[in-house]
């Protein structure tokens, strides 16, 4: 009798032990994985497109693209050379994409929505671009420049220049400023520039 009791307890004990194991968690490593390693990264950017409109005749004149298809891979971004005419003013509109996402992720739309937390800075190494002026603003008061839309004034022909785009992101309670070193860096790329007669 005593033995039977102990066997019952033993069985009950084993039952408790088995009930401790939860199952049905999705843990099959052979199952399908996210499409592309870069795709899962919400911060990924693969393409920047600059659309230049000649201010004199308002027709679409040129589009220049920078691509980095492998994202954080070892292959560096490849940029078109921005070819401009001498002493002209262009309206430039910038579009930014992540092509690894389906549907296509338009990062520039995201940035426009969050204008209050972003600021582009443009700089030129060389003399081919005489001036850049940001023409779009955020919704603060007073409004601060954003930089998805801007004007470029080309200089005289000759030599090579580098056009640098630097996007700063202000989050975590960091106040948006006009200092190109403040905030976090979201984008930092170079386009080569050439000006022809």
């Amino acid at each position: 009798m005593k033995q039977t009791k102990h066997i019952i307890f033993l069985l009950a004990f084993v039952a408790i032990s088995i009930s401790g194991c939860k199952k049905n968690k999705a843990t099959d490593p052979t199952a399908e994985q996210p499409v592309n390693p870069g795709a899962g990264d919400e911060e990924n950017i693969t393409r920047i497109q600059l659309q230049f409109i000649d201010s004199a005749n308002n027709t679409i004149s040129k589009t220049f693209t920078l691509r980095d298809t492998d994202g954080q891979g070892k292959n560096p971004p490849v940029a078109d050379t921005i070819k401009l005419e001498v002493n002209k003013t262009y309206f430039v509109s910038q579009s930014i994409y992540d092509d690894t996402k389906t549907p296509l992720s338009v990062v520039s739309d995201e940035i426009r929505k969050e204008a209050n937390f972003h600021r582009f800075h443009y700089s030129i190494k060389g003399s081919l671009i005489a001036q850049t002026i940001i023409t779009d603003y955020d919704t603060r008061s007073p409004a601060q420049p954003l930089g998805l839309e801007f004007k470029i004034k080309s200089g005289n022909a000759g030599g090579n220049s580098i056009f640098n785009i630097n996007l700063r992101h202000f989050s975590n309670g960091i106040e948006k400023t006009a200092n190109p070193a403040d905030g976090e860096q979201d984008i930092l790329v170079d386009f080569p520039v050439r000006v022809n007669n």
Binding site: H6, F9, T27, I45, Q72, N172, E184, D186, L188
Partner: protein
Amino acid sequence: MKFCFLFFLFNLILVPGVLFAQPDSCNAVLKGNVLDGETGKPFQYASVFIKEFQKGASTDSNGFFQINNLCQGKVTVVYSALGYKSFTTSYKLNSDIRIDQIILHTDTCQLESVTVYGKKAEEIGSFTRASLTGKELDRTRGLSLGDALKELPGVTTLKTGNSISKPVIHGLHSNRVLVLNAGLRQEGQQWGNEHAPEIDPFVSDKMTVVKGAAGVRYGSDAIAGVVIVEPRNLPLKTGINGEMNLVGMSNNRQGTVSGLLEGKFGKWLPLMWRLQGTMSKAGNVKAPHYYQANTGFEEKNFSYAVGYNRKWFSGEIFYSQFNTTLGIFSGSHIGSVSDLQNAIEKSEPAVKSGFSYEINRPFQHVEHELVRAKFSAYLAKIGSLNLLLGRQFNNRSEFDVLRNSIANESKEIPQLQLKLTTHSADLVLEHKPFKNISGSIGTVYMQQANIWQGRFLIPNFKSQSFGGFIIEKWGLGKTDLEAGLRYDKKFLDIYLNDNGIVKLLPYSFSNFSGTVGAIYKISKALNWRTNAGTTWRPPNVNELFSKGLHHGAAAIEIGDPTLKPEQAFKLVTSLEAKSEKLNLESSLFYSQIQNFIYLKPDLELVQTIRGAFPSFTYTQIDARFYGSDLFASYEMSKSINLIVKGSLVLAENITEKGYLINIPPIRYSPAIVYRPRFIKEAYNSYLRFTLNRTENQWRVPENSDYANPPAAYTLFDAEAGTDLLFGKQKVSIIFQVNNLFDVAYRDYMNRFRYFTDEMGRNFTLRIKVPVSIYNKN
């Protein structure tokens, strides 16, 4: 630097110096067996203690004990076990004595609650160990596992901010330190520097660090050592008892509550049980001049255990769940190297903050679930057969700061999720001593599956490993010799997604581990342990396949699919002196690791649209680690005690003839403890002052870090503790002030050293209340 060499020399001279000392001529042996008066069966874990020599042993599963190297003369022997009446008798020792059938009876008038029933014999005695238990453990309550173990000589931490800390043994961590949680290898994503062990220290009443290449018993990866966190033993005596712990800290306004309730049903239901839970919440940490934004954490853990104990069989189920949400310091989130350099140049973080409990992005949420079933059968002729079954599920979610502020507000969707499921089974036979040879033989099996979601860090994988080991110990009077051998084989199937096509990449690794060791009892007060071990470690999945940007480190880490396993050799020799006044443990270690895997900085920056990032590739070299640990406690008078602890680690890259990065600098801490003997009401009262000195780490490889290692620093801690009695109710109180002078400092072993100072002054109050609800008389 002078100190470093003095320290090293001290050990160098001391260890051999004692070896050549003449041992006295004490070689009598006392042996016998102990029976349980209740069942009449052999008594396991009973303690046998010789008063004159302050020397003891505990009985094995067959009730046998043996105490060697006794001097001739009269000895008083105390046989005891918790929950049983102790039995004292004396013998005249002329030569070896054998005492048969000492019977221990249950204690019927026991006052204090009993939570622990004896100590399990060490599986490999020649390893140098250090344990945190009793009052020393109470002093660390409310700290994470890593921070608590930092109290032990030779152990430091690798931190990421204030909330993530990993134990470092002799300069090594992560996959080179095995954490044994309730007898199972803790399987989380422990390869990550910012992945802390998912363990609630309140589960345990003893945490042990084994310093040595302990692969033979615990499997591959135990290159530097093993951290053993064993849940408390279940009570053997009928009744219901408990314990309540409360911890409050001023700096980050942390509050921790941990409680446990345990008992044993009566004869009608022969089950023992325990319920345990811990809740913790902390807010932003305050460095002396500013708050660190987003550095709070929240933890909710619980565990339960049920045990069944008969004379021929015992079984125990242990279940635990660990859940933590921890904020990552906002100031550490940077977009590029130039951001990092800006942050380093600023003396204060750009992100300003006040105090808050709120946790925002970036943060981590980690869940760890562990179930263990342990069954032991005592077979009269053979020994005890132990089966350990385990299942662990680790679910890690990392929430990044997003470019999209609206999505950033949401705390729902993680950018990275890793789910790791582990099943394991160990079968170990502790065989009956054959003449004076005792030991164990066992087989182990483990199976794992990992899946990821979100941004890529490591691929999906499945793995299976098999192993078998044998460890034997020869007792030769003054000397015990040990040897062990193990073979492991691991199959690793990687499922790598290459542009939409999942490729299966099979790997297999196998190797032997071995150990030889000796324990030499030089005299009744001196013990010398030496262990030489080899162990290995297959490359981890992140080292093979990692590919991507690590925020906070602003670095791209690239794996190498052709890496070979690491092969390590480690020698640890230590001397323990225990006399009435002096308690000294001094050890030296030397370790050489072939194919040591480390992140080597690539010279070229990786250009991306988001900026240029330095890249690091996992590379193999040969490395050497050596150094020394010291613990000394000296009783100056009845009320004044001096304690000194120190750790020295030197590491070298043999292949490239240089140093290694992230090696802890020299640390030492002298302390003075004062115990007023005249206050009878508040027994166990003490005052303690500690100085913690950490030297500057100048032994770093050139051009491999963004900033120079931080300067040396000195901190002062003050502490007072007492046990109070309210009627029959005992209450233990410890009050601590860390960083008494609010010193602003940075620590080389904190990965956020670039961004912020460490925690400023912190007051901590710890209250422990044992609860006795019902005890059968």
